[in-house]
Point group: C3
Chain length 399, copies 3
């Protein structure tokens, strides 16, 4: 391949996609049935989460000036594969899903599949713009373990993605890549994706929450809590963004990331939050930490650890996720009886440690395998550039 | 009119609109009542389809660089008139809708009106950019026959539109019009419309499906089937688009069209699809055919048949629609008893033939009447150009 | 501060936001509880209105070429604060909401809070681009009285905003500010926000409507009425826009405003509208008045009264709102018995007069207080300009 062009994926991507789809369809032939006597009681939540995954994540990723087609296009491609893969994996790995060796599709299993896809998309955020779609697919297959809780989703996804990004760090990329830019219009497209995530986050958090007999209205409590936490997040994210800027101006990219941190934190802690003010306080702290992290930690990580985190998933998902984890631990310890509380604390700490270790190990292990030449990584100067992957036959040249 | 300007529609469009609205209101006075004891059980499906018609179709049509205002503006205008017209026509033409010479409005009749509007908008896709809104309105009034099934909607709409476009073929337009272009931003706007259609397609297909006693969960089966078929479609559309490109790059316009073909095909065949893998296979084949058709058939039609199909509705709606029709025929023949199967096959083939003939004849007949000078068609060089219809008083000139 | 830069808000906005959020959280600690035995029956309406407030109003305000970030960003900031404020104010001011000195959060109170936010955002529309976010917050706190009906929402919000804008009129701004422009792309973004408002307006109007025993199906009647009224509005807005243009071309900004007027008018009159044709006639008249007002009244107000109304809220909200008020009066008088009718008429006229007086007085009183130097208003030449408030570190310079 000439140095001017990115390596053609013509012989890679279609082959991989064709192969995977054939395997998926064959596996679906033998194992997957539709649950006929299911009811449609989760269908509005499903629709909301569907919009978040495909519209919200997709357009949030269009903030790069020259990477909008890839941002939204690859998001759809990966999420569509993720869902098929997650239906199969959730069925195979969780024994209680088997019904006489059959996987049954229901609204619940579809929502779980979308949450798995969300986790993979969070991981993708860290390497956004620096890998090609075949590498994406490979990373994503690995990252796609079972997501049984929202905490796991955010923390695992973010740490995994950051580790992969650390391994994939390219010497050739100067700290600030010339193509890693936004303009007025891409800022609005990204704002648009952010708002979709923001608006439907209450459904995202509450979808898997069931009302118990001994705890009525838990679902509604989660909805109101997420809603208020996100409202506080917005205000704090804008304030901190203005406060940390020398000229007293806000930064659209900070805003787009930190407004969502309240939803992440409350999503992890939600089962123990019963009053609105606790939800608002969690949202307050989460967006404060996230916005400060965005201002100071992102560049620090880049220079000190040589880890480039395109969408800053560490600040948007990992930090608020861990904050929410502490909030949950604290709230549970404050409310429960002593013996149960100790049991919960031990279990809870173990889950976080195992998640963190697994994500770090798997991320570090996945990185090198994506570097091998068979996946045809793009050159340094083709990073953050749509033209490596997309035809622009009718593009106005003089613009 | 000076050659530099498109003919002014000032004396045409307002008159036609004013007249039509007056007639509509008068007809509503005498014939239309609200069904007071209806319930709201279809309201979420209605809302989803409403979003698809006005947001999805509207923004899918903004992909042309200089035709974005017209794409979304005329879409809203036509769909808004289509719905009023369809409420009246469905009431007058279907005798079972009369209740003592009254047409009753219910969620069901509103959804049917939106589906009729969808059919008209599909037909519009073929002549998009080459006709003015008065012609649009005229074409649309003709095309607006009763849509009683989803198959009719796609196949009739697409064939009708293609025939009108064939009749309207302008010698003066060179095969590739200089203004028929996209850029990065309009590609994202169109992606945005595509995603809205894509995400809510399960509601579109399942809205008119009712659960029977003897076939429980049919509605849910349709939802899951459409969902999986669309997921496979996305993957295949991107792969084929990359495979058919010389440089191994994807084409955004292909992607935006072919991802939807799985939804079209499964929408026609859905009543006979009971397992996920059949739905996925139909989506697989539909997007394969549609993407290949987009690459090879669109230009072939332009040069060999002198038929210019702006939004490629033939490949997006007609081809997958007919594929779905074959799938339905095959699945029914395979499952039913012999006598019923033969009856079904005969009926089924007749429906397709009648639909195709009607659409071809009506399309060919509608074309010439739209050409007469009274409708003031725009000149060749004002095709695909917003400035024929929209004021840009504050437009930044130097851009 | 150098004359070239807008005054930095670094010491103002974060302080105000931090203070307000702390106060909000403290008040929530002592007064606000979640209503645990509430049910989720209004949750779809709530979600629709949520989308309208944050997505619809936000992107409708992006139509200015250089003010897109502020349009959507400040909208989210203000709406997020408005909701928290409205939950508290509605609870404190309405005695029937107190339950033993506690404010209970339910879907109903959340929807009311969103409607209050809508009223504030309507008022903001009049001063859009000419005030900074700290002034916005201040204006908004004042404007935020209790909204108990949709009529109040539109008429109060619009008149209040216009009065504030009249007081804030800057001599330095020439009648047509050089930065008050749109282009093709911002027109599409605004179209996008308009469509979200347009599509979900039926939910907006019907959310607070309850079915009575003596009037079955009132909610559905409102939904169908709003829907048809908006459909007629679209057609008439485009026609009038074309008719009033010298060259027979449509104006995107007229269209974006006047299409919504049908929803405003029917929203005020809806409880008395029982047949589709009345709804359509109201939509017809409202969009006619609104579009004519947009063409002639906006500039007249600017030159004769020195009142600059950026989003033309007078024509979009006040005029159709008052039209709807007359329709309601007329329909009630025509249907009710004489004694009740007179009582209703007196009450009805009083409500409008009180609303108008309060909005005018409060608007005039609010204006001067926002002008004091402590809020740091931007200079004339920084009006309608994002660069006063937003960092563009990575902005492509040569664009």
């Amino acid at each position: 391949t000439a140095p001017g062009y990115a390596p053609s994926l013509r012989s890679r991507l279609p082959l991989v996609a064709f192969l995977l789809e054939t395997i998926f369809i064959l596996l679906f032939v033998f194992f997957v049935k539709i649950e006929h006597n299911g009811n449609a009681f989760l269908s509005t939540e499903f629709q909301d989460i569907h919009v978040m995954i495909f519209m919200g994540f997709g357009f949030l990723a269009t903030f790069l000036l020259r990477y909008g087609f890839s941002g939204s296009g690859f998001n759809v491609l990966l999420a569509a594969m993720a869902i098929q893969w997650a239906v199969l994996m959730n069925g195979f790995l969780l024994p209680q899903r088997h019904h006489k060796r059959e996987i049954h599709i229901s609204m619940k299993s579809m929502i779980e599949a979308e949450l798995c896809a969300a986790s993979a998309l969070v991981a993708m955020g860290a390497v956004h713009g620096k890998t090609n779609p075949v590498q994406y697919k490979f990373i994503f297959k690995i990252s796609h373990i079972l997501i049984s809780s929202i905490m796991l989703l955010h923390v695992f996804g973010a740490l995994f993605g950051v580790m992969v990004s650390w391994v994939l760090y390219r010497e050739g990329i100067e700290p600030v890549h010339e193509k890693e830019k936004t303009d007025r219009k891409t800022g609005l497209f990204a704002m648009f994706g952010t708002l979709f995530l923001w608006m439907f986050w209450p459904s995202f958090n509450s979808a898997m929450v069931r009302d118990h007999k001994w705890e009525r209205g838990l679902k509604l409590t989660v909805i109101y809590g997420t809603y208020l936490s996100l409202a506080v997040s917005v205000v704090m994210a804008m304030s901190v963004s203005m406060l940390t800027s020398a000229k007293g101006k806000m930064n659209m990219v900070h805003l787009q990331s930190s407004t969502l941190s309240g939803g992440v934190a409350i999503g992890v802690a939600m089962t123990a939050v019963h009053t609105p003010w606790i939800a608002m306080t969690i949202g307050f702290c989460a967006s404060l930490l996230s916005a400060l992290g965005f201002c100071y930690m992102k560049n620090h990580m880049l220079f000190a650890f040589e880890c480039h985190d395109t969408c800053s998933v560490l600040n948007v998902h990992a930090v608020p996720g861990i904050l929410g984890w502490f909030a949950l631990l604290f709230l549970r310890l404050a409310s429960d009886e002593s013996t149960i509380a100790v049991q919960f604390a031990v279990y809870h700490i173990c889950v976080l440690l195992i998640t963190a270790c697994m994500s770090l190990v798997m991320g570090t292990a996945t990185g090198p395998t994506t570097l091998i030449h068979i996946w045809r990584p793009q050159q340094d100067r083709k990073c953050f550039d749509d033209q490596a992957f997309w035809e622009f036959p009718n593009l106005v040249v003089q613009k």
